[in-house]
């Protein structure tokens, strides 16, 4: 076991983690722990763009952006946070530009902007060009640019270190309201050696990204297993709004690989088997550019009503054939190549089979606007921060608007980095208890013992069953019954998980062992998602209950706070912050 000491430890080197690191490393001694090489983080997969009301091509302002964000999130958005997000958006984009990010340009040489779902002019009048982009690899450019700046600043990375536990100096669940609890550090597993490391730190920032792998069809990477959220949950912290998962309308059918909304922003049209542009029926004003939850539901509905394309009638078609090949090559080169490589479809001449794919966790570790992690509705854990997809400041509410996540990671990543460093400069170094690594040591030892032992269950098999049931029962359409079925199966799978066996007895690069650990997180998160979905007897944003098909502001205009207690998931509520915009019906 090795011990390290830093002022600030950042967990995760995606967009949020590295943006935080850039701020924090300038002010305090910072280490970034990441289970992947930074450039492998899934921020790099983001395609379409990053929203900011730069007004470079069309009239626009932060206020409209704020409104769209709140409306897009079906009024579950914390409006103070949304205001910060949209006001700081402009600087966030300009910061990246100054760091060297190669945005596409207008003829005047400014950052170019394009349309994206749910982004409108003057409170819903018409679609507006707000997404700043770099072809269809905006996330890739952000990730590269931030990594390059980290190199410039000599940020200290611990690559392929899996953080598996956080150390707090008290139990957040038993502590009284107002009692001070602070973070003391994290425990990590080093992939290349199998060694366990403890990191003592005054501040810890979690930026571990999403948890898409609870679903089968997903645009998310194999490595997005919700570790940060799972660690927080195990530490006794709540998770907020986990029932809200975004299903992106245009995943490659059967594979889930994402075709960015930019495809529709650039003029692509969704059609059913009859060739009908069906979105005209669901969202007459902005049609194919309606928010994702609406489009995804519309697509699923077309398929349910027998208007799906293909031999099994189980997908719809994304039609780009009316666009100039040159325009496609310029604006959407990568995603059209995905269609060619993986489905053998030529988008110039043929429509591309698409179906909704699990894409984004709106929920996560609850934080306030300074990225400080909440342990209940009001108290923060001192020194503990979260940002990016693993966090829930609630700027996305019940449904995230496209291009608002890349914005989120930059705005709140930066805030987290600054806040963490500034706190660390005033705080005294915490003491790590002697048994700090005990949990991880035991976890790893237990798994190692299963090699060649009694265990009969396979990690992959359990994961597969979990993902299939989530796709079947907890996807775009949910009901009491489907959720109950999923809940029952997850309970069963958790039971079976206790008798898994791994194969790799080695110390070095034991990815077998880590997949087992990751499955543990997935199972617990699935449980929270299902519990939250069952508890929310309404339909709002990404969460759609067929048995309660309308939004119910009377009873459910509040956030879910899910706590893991010994006897199961405990759901509590947290009020939504409303400043300017009273909830109204969401129509496009």
């Amino acid at each position: 076991m090795t011990e390290h000491e830093y002022d600030v430890v950042i967990v995760g080197a995606g967009g949020a983690g590295m943006r935080a690191a850039l701020e924090s490393s300038q002010r305090a001694r910072t280490a970034v722990l990441t289970k992947l090489y930074p450039t492998r983080s899934h921020t790099g997969a983001a395609q379409g763009g990053m929203a900011a009301a730069l007004a470079n091509v069309e009239d626009d302002n932060a206020e409209w952006h704020t409104f769209d964000t709140i409306k897009g999130g079906d009024y579950l958005v914390d409006q103070d946070a949304a205001e910060i997000l949209c006001n700081e958006a402009i600087d966030a984009v300009l910061d990246l530009e100054k760091m060297g990010l190669p945005f596409n340009r207008t003829t005047a040489g400014k950052v170019d902007q394009r349309r994206f779902g749910g982004h409108t002019r003057n409170h819903g009048e018409a679609a507006v060009r707000r997404a700043c982009y770099a072809a269809d690899r905006t996330g890739h450019m952000i990730l590269q640019t931030l990594y390059q700046q980290c190199i410039k600043q000599n940020v200290e990375f611990y690559n392929e270190f899996y953080v598996l536990d956080m150390i707090l100096d008290g139990d957040p669940q038993t502590a009284a309201d107002g009692e001070e609890i602070s973070v003391a550090g994290v425990v990590a597993y080093e992939l290349s050696t199998g060694q366990i490391h403890t990191f003592r730190a005054k501040s810890v920032v979690f930026a571990t990204g999403g948890a898409g792998k609870v679903f089968k069809t997903t645009s998310n990477a194999h490595t997005l297993t919700g570790d940060g959220m799972g660690i927080a949950l195990r530490a006794g912290l709540p998770l907020e709004d986990m029932e809200f998962f975004q299903f992106h309308p245009t995943g490659l059918a059967g594979l889930g690989i994402l075709l960015s909304e930019a495809a529709r922003g650039e003029g692509g049209i969704l059609r059913n088997s009859e060739g009908e542009r069906f979105m005209e029926r669901y969202a007459p004003t902005i049609k194919d550019l309606a928010p994702r939850d609406m489009v995804a539901r519309a697509m699923a509905n077309e398929v349910r009503e027998g208007r799906g394309a293909g031999p099994n009638k189980d997908y719809v078609l994304l039609d780009l054939t009316h666009l100039e090949p040159k325009h496609i090559d310029e604006k959407l080169p990568d995603i059209t190549e995905f269609a060619r490589t993986y489905l053998g479809v030529e988008p110039y001449t043929e429509p591309v089979p698409v179906f909704p794919t699990a894409h984004y966790a709106m929920g996560g570790i609850p934080t306030n606007v300074n990225a400080e992690v909440l342990r209940n509705n009001t108290d923060v854990v001192k020194g503990l921060y979260a940002a990016g997809e693993c966090a829930c400041v609630s700027v996305h509410g019940a449904n995230r608007l496209g291009t608002n996540s890349l914005l989120d990671i930059n705005v709140f990543g930066k805030r987290a980095g600054i806040a963490a460093a500034e706190y660390a400069l005033t705080a005294t170094a915490p003491e790590l208890p002697a048994d700090a690594p005990a949990f991880v040591t035991a976890l790893v030892a237990k798994l190692r013992e299963t090699v060649g032992g009694e265990g009969t269950e396979r990690v992959a098999q359990i994961r597969k069953e979990l993902q299939e049931t989530m796709d079947m029962n907890v996807q775009v359409f949910r009901t009491e019954e489907s959720l109950a079925e999923a809940a029952a199966l997850v309970t069963q799978l958790k039971e079976r998980y206790t008798s898994i066996a791994i194969h790799d007895r080695g110390q070095r690069f034991n990815t077998d062992l880590l997949e087992a650990v990751e499955l543990g997180f997935l199972l617990e998160l699935a449980e929270v998602v299902i519990a939250g979905a069952a508890g929310r007897k309404e339909s709002r944003g990404g969460h759609y209950r067929e048995d309660f098909p309308t939004r119910d502001d009377e009873n459910y205009l509040h956030h879910t706070m899910a706590y893991a207690r010994p006897d199961g998931i405990d759901l509590q509520w947290k009020p939504v912050v409303i400043t300017k915009y009273q909830p109204m019906e969401r129509k496009y």
Binding site: E23, Q153, N154
Partner: protein, 153 residues
């Protein structure tokens, strides 16, 4: 909270001293000499191997005949120098690629450089101090015509 300093540049660009432009000039030289060599060598090969009796015509007398003209003296000299430098430079690049240990590398480089100098010096001396009609040689071996012309026979 937002009073933070903006991104400064704590890390200065590395100060790296390069070995001048040696590699660059080596690279350019390979190309320039290559183009010239192609003319020199192919003419040389053509005259020696394709005209007349081809390889069979080559003997002392043939050489003497050629080198009687200053053009061919200079021709062969240029070819010698360019080919040796080009070849040695090429070999140097190959040695740099494969010889990992500094000692081995240095030794090989020295060997190359020495052989280059020796060969060039030797070749040059031969070309410019060549005597077409050494005394006491069987006249059958000489370029009789040439030696008569020169008044050496």
């Amino acid at each position: 909270m937002m009073t933070a300093p903006e991104l400064t540049e704590p890390k200065k660009p590395m100060n790296r001293r390069t070995v001048g432009n040696a590699e660059k000039w080596g690279w350019i030289f390979q190309r320039a000499s290559g183009v010239i060599l192609i003319v020199l060598i192919f003419t040389h090969l053509f005259i020696n191997l394709m005209t007349g009796d081809g390889v069979n015509q080559i003997d002392f007398a043939f050489v003497a005949g050629k080198w009687a003209a200053p053009l061919w003296k200079w021709w062969d000299f240029t070819m010698l120098v360019l080919a040796m430098v080009h070849g040695t430079n090429g070999m140097r690049m190959i040695v740099n690629d494969y010889a990992r240990r500094p000692f081995v590398r240095q030794t090989l480089q020295w060997a190359l450089n020495i052989s280059m100098v020796v060969i060039i010096v030797l070749g040059t001396l031969v070309i410019f101090t060549f005597d077409p009609c050494p005394t006491g040689t069987d006249t059958e071996l000489l370029n009789v015509e040439l030696c008569r012309e020169l008044g050496r026979l």
